[in-house]
């Protein structure tokens, strides 16, 4: 079905114009390694659209297309319904969308997809801003981070995607990070096997938008997990489970100082964020 102009080891081309050190590139490779060829993908505009190609060229050996920012989940749900009408119960339908496409512009369509119980695997790779259009802040930009629309640092905390989808009583939802690829792949497998909607929220370090050297992508994702700036947990049929429980979280300042976007954050603000992290982490531990 594909006209292979240049070979690749996996389902993703080696030469994709994502920035050097892009976390998203590492994530999509790991996701598709688990899902395999029997997958259809819907990608909205954003950095991930680099993978579904331009014109008739694509960087993926699976079928898919670029939709709109508003309706990734609706497209995916429709494709799944179409496949079911044809008697196909094996193909995985993957929605692969950024934070802007998920938490802001496409939130209604995601909400509908979960409420209807459509069997779609929805992945939000979260680089914490509208990167592809020039680093504008999104509702998932963390407090204190500087973007082109929050130059002095974002003053409000981020929306919590996990709590939103859990409020829909979703069968399976999990956070993941390139800091722990084995955990990420296990969750992709679990989400694929879920009989109903599944959402994965994946932390996605972005050297260009977060202002750090491209070689530090993994170091930064590990710092995020060690400090609790990104928490690894899953919600499986009503049960909450924290996947990474250090005895104590490292101070969040250790994560901030690695990135230019937090350069001008005040000590006072760091303390407020630290308190929020501590109380959220305790809440999760109590809930699990």
């Amino acid at each position: 079905m594909f006209d292979i102009k240049s070979e690749a080891k996996g389902l993703v081309s080696h030469g994709v114009s994502a920035c050097a050190g892009c976390g998203l590139e590492l994530i999509i490779r790991n996701v598709l390694e688990i899902l395999g060829e029997d997958t259809l993908i819907v990608i909205p505009p954003g950095c991930s659209a680099l993978f579904c190609g331009y014109g008739n060229e694509t960087a993926l050996k699976i079928g898919g297309f670029q939709g709109n920012l508003e309706n990734t989940a609706a497209y995916a749900a429709g494709i799944k319904a179409g496949l079911e009408m044809q008697g196909n119960n094996h193909t995985t339908v993957l929605a692969f969308a950024g934070d802007g496409a998920t938490l802001d512009i496409g939130i209604q369509s995601l909400s509908g997809m979960i409420e209807r119980g459509d069997k779609v695997l929805y992945i939000c790779y979260d680089n914490e801003a509208y990167m592809n259009t020039g680093i504008q802040g999104s509702s998932s930009t963390p407090q204190g981070a500087s973007t082109t629309t929050t130059p002095g640092g974002k003053v409000t905390p981020r929306k919590d995607l996990m709590q939103i989808v859990i409020a829909h009583r979703i069968p399976y939802a999990a956070t993941a990070s390139p800091a722990n690829l084995a955990d990420l792949k296990r969750k992709v497998k679990k989400a694929k096997e879920t009989d109903g909607p599944a959402v994965l929220h994946i932390h996605t370090p972005c050297p260009t938008g977060w202002a750090f050297h491209p070689s530090k992508t993994i170091k930064i994702s590990k710092a995020a997990v060690d400090t609790g700036a990104w928490m690894l947990y899953e919600y499986d049929n009503g049960t909450l489970k924290v996947n990474y429980k250090p005895k104590s979280l490292k101070p969040v300042g250790e994560y901030f100082k690695l990135q230019g976007r937090f350069k001008n954050i005040s000590q006072e603000e760091v303390s407020i964020i630290q308190e929020n992290i501590n109380s959220r982490f305790n809440e999760l531990l109590l809930g699990s």
């Binding site: 079905m1 594909f2 006209d3 292979i4 102009k5 240049s6 690749a8 080891k9 996996g10 993703v12 081309s13 080696h14 030469g15 994709v16 114009s17 994502a18 050097a20 050190g21 892009c22 976390g23 590139e25 590492l26 490779r29 579904c52 190609g53 331009y54 014109g55 008739n56 060229e57 694509t58 960087a59 993926l60 050996k61 079928g63 898919g64 297309f65 390139p178 690829l181 050297p207 050297h213 491209p214 070689s215 530090k216 992508t217 993994i218 170091k219």
Partner: protein, 104 residues
């Protein structure tokens, strides 16, 4: 309800019909992103434990470990972007980033 549906159909019937294969792209292509590289990873093979960490974390997936070869870490230079992640994650610290033009 039915009237609304008919209203829509009226317009849809007026549309021209095209036979299209798509909107799905089907030509699998790669860009030669190796040309972006300012620095390239250089491995001290004698120190390498062949653990595969660099291979696992390379965003471009251009590293292959050959356990039996002396030059046990192989790169696809056409696509390596020179990001330096492999050097950064190597537990043996045996990858260094060298100037792309400095070495032959």
């Amino acid at each position: 309800m039915l009237r609304m549906q008919m209203q829509q159909e009226k317009h849809m019937k007026k549309q021209k019909k095209y036979r299209v294969l798509g909107p799905m792209a089907s030509v699998f292509e790669s860009m030669k992103t190796g040309s972006w590289r300012l620095e390239r990873p250089k491995v001290e093979f004698s120190q390498c434990s062949k653990c595969g960490t660099c291979e696992r974390y390379c965003p471009a997936n251009v590293i292959t470990i050959h356990k039996e070869k002396e030059e046990c870490v192989q790169f696809i230079w056409d696509y390596c972007k020179g990001c330096g992640i492999c050097a950064n994650v190597c537990p043996k610290d045996c990858i260094s980033m060298v100037d792309e033009r400095g070495e032959e």
